[in-house]
């Protein structure tokens, strides 16, 4: 049984990075996403907001502030890494697709990276 150890897949060197992003993204998602989804997805359509709450002028003013940009960057990008990490294992464990581990990992984290780049582009353009 001395060989048993060598059969374990070794964790990647990126594992700590991936895990930190997963945890940070999970916390940001837990604390901040529900209120944003509730405001934009429910309260707006239900007419619970003051009429100018989401007006173009106010939105642009708010988002042009550097603090808002940092906040929005964190809010949009970090949860993507959390979701990428969990979806990776949903694909393997719940969908039962056990092959292509590297490909699935690259696709999941790659999508999160692409989302981060798009977030930065959108924030810089506003």
């Amino acid at each position: 049984m001395t060989r048993a150890k060598s059969t374990k897949p070794r964790p990647s060197r990126l594992e700590p990075v991936v895990w930190s992003l997963f945890a940070a993204g999970g916390t940001v998602a837990a604390l901040l996403l529900p209120v944003h989804v509730a405001i934009l997805g429910i309260a707006l359509a239900a007419g619970w907001l003051p009429s100018d709450a989401l007006s173009y002028e106010r939105a642009v003013d708010l988002v042009r502030h550097p603090i808002t940009k940092v906040y929005l960057g964190v809010l949009v990008a970090l949860p993507l890494y959390h979701a990428a990490h969990r979806l990776r294992f949903v694909i393997h464990h719940q969908l039962g697709l056990h092959g292509g581990r590297r490909l699935v990992a690259a696709a999941c984290y790659g999508t999160a990276l692409a989302g981060t780049a798009l977030t930065v582009v959108a924030l810089v353009r506003i």
Binding site: A29, P34, V37, P50, L75, V76, G96
Partner: protein, 135 residues
């Protein structure tokens, strides 16, 4: 597939039915918790789409708000909201399990840590809502 090529030599993996996670309540709750990641990703994508619309000018932004006002978007948002709230509750419970909080020599009971985290969530949500809507 019963053999996987994870390390240097093949490893035997006990065959599992694809629907193993539907078998017991515990497994189903785990599966739902993991699937909330779809709601988390969807929230980020919607926020990103809103930012892009805003960067493209007034018409694009108001067009996106018009879509958010549609009944389809409301149904989608309700599903996403249920998913992210489930994520919040399970994530804060996990955090309360992992994070030990000490006060002097005493260790705060998990239930109090969880209560503190849930209070933090409510407070943060109220602050965000205030800044988002009224400031």
């Amino acid at each position: 597939m019963s053999v996987t090529q994870g390390g240097r030599s093949p490893v035997y993996v006990r065959p599992m039915p694809r629907t193993w996670w539907l078998r017991t309540r515990r497994y189903r709750r785990f599966a739902i918790r993991e699937l909330t990641s779809v709601a988390v990703a969807a929230s980020s994508v919607i926020l990103l789409a809103l930012l892009f619309a805003l960067s493209r000018g007034r018409d694009a932004y108001e067009g996106f708000l018009g879509w958010l006002d549609s009944s389809g978007a409301v149904v989608l948002s309700a599903i996403i909201l249920a998913g992210v709230v489930y994520h919040t509750i399970t994530w804060l419970r996990l955090t309360a399990h992992i994070q030990v909080v000490r006060l002097g020599r005493r260790v705060l009971p998990r239930r109090l840590v969880l209560a503190g985290l849930l209070t933090l969530w409510v407070a943060v949500s109220a602050i965000v809502a205030y800044l988002h809507i009224w400031l």
